[in-house]
């Protein structure tokens, strides 16, 4: 898959974008990704389970995937002609053993 071009939009998880004025609302945009860790890192995390605490491998994986989901949401908003997304929410679900879905959604808006 081609890596998505990096675009930066105004984003917030409140109804407005503080400091900006919303001029149009374009509707819902979503982005999601399903990820699994390769088995080597899984084994390493299993070893880490011996002492517990933070599982850095998984933290990293989830952060990467969430950024990807956000990137996809932004792409969608960008193609709609929006330059901001408000009321962004996240959801995580365990879709299958060994895989996790990261989902984010928001309302695309035009701000100035």
């Amino acid at each position: 898959m081609q890596p998505a071009p990096t675009i930066a939009l105004h984003m917030s998880n409140v109804e407005t974008i503080p400091g900006k004025t919303i001029t149009a609302s374009l509707g819902l945009v979503t982005g999601s990704t399903v990820r699994a860790k390769h088995i080597g890192k899984d084994i390493f995390a299993g070893l880490k389970n011996l002492v517990g605490g933070e599982l850095k491998q998984y933290t990293e994986l989830l952060n990467e995937s969430r950024n990807e989901a956000i990137q996809r949401m932004m792409m969608q908003a960008h193609t709609m002609g929006a330059n901001g997304v408000v009321n962004v929410r996240f959801a995580t679900s365990n879709v299958a053993a060994g895989a996790s879905e990261l989902f984010c959604y928001g309302t695309a808006v035009v701000v100035e």
Partner: protein, 165 residues
């Protein structure tokens, strides 16, 4: 003589190891997690905590909005899990029910750590205040085999709108 010695070693391997392994894991985990917690408390003391400050709220504020020049979405997540030994002891404790102290400590650590990191991210993005701070908890299991719960860990996600003034 050699046979009975072999028997003793055999029995102790099958009896001692299943008990000693979780206990070792529990002791190691306790020590390691204690160190993580100490580091977090020291960090919170040095850099300040997000809690009990009027600049960081879980609601929106009109006053902040008026003074804002720009805003950005902040999000941090962290995965924490108890050690195998803790899970073993929790399983035993689960027979009788009651408060699971070791799990309490793990979750408390995760939540405080993620809030601390959110504040760090806000600082690095030049945000002076945060609004609509949300905390979400979800169980993630990357274990490849279906019912194996050893790979279970808890993910904490914190996100907020950072305000630059």
């Amino acid at each position: 003589m050699a046979e009975s010695l072999g028997l003793i070693i055999g029995i102790s391997f099958w009896v001692v190891f299943p008990v000693a392994f979780p206990l070792t894991s529990w002791a190691l985990g306790r020590w390691y997690q204690g160190r993580l917690m100490e580091a977090l408390v020291a960090n919170e003391k040095a850099h300040g905590t997000i809690l009990q400050s009027d600049r960081f709220s879980s609601t929106t504020s009109k006053m902040d909005n008026m003074a804002a020049t720009s805003a950005t979405l902040l999000h941090v997540s962290i995965c924490v899990g108890p050690s195998i030994g803790q899970m073993f002891l929790m399983w035993i404790k689960g027979i009788f029910g009651g408060r699971l102290q070791s799990y309490d400590a793990v979750l408390d650590f995760g939540r405080r750590e993620v809030l601390f990191r959110l504040k760090q991210q806000a600082d690095s993005f030049g945000c002076t205040s945060m609004q609509n701070i949300r905390l979400e908890t979800s169980v993630v299991s990357f274990s490849k085999s279906g019912n194996d719960r050893r790979g279970t860990s808890v993910e904490f996600l914190a996100f907020a709108t950072g305000i630059r003034q």
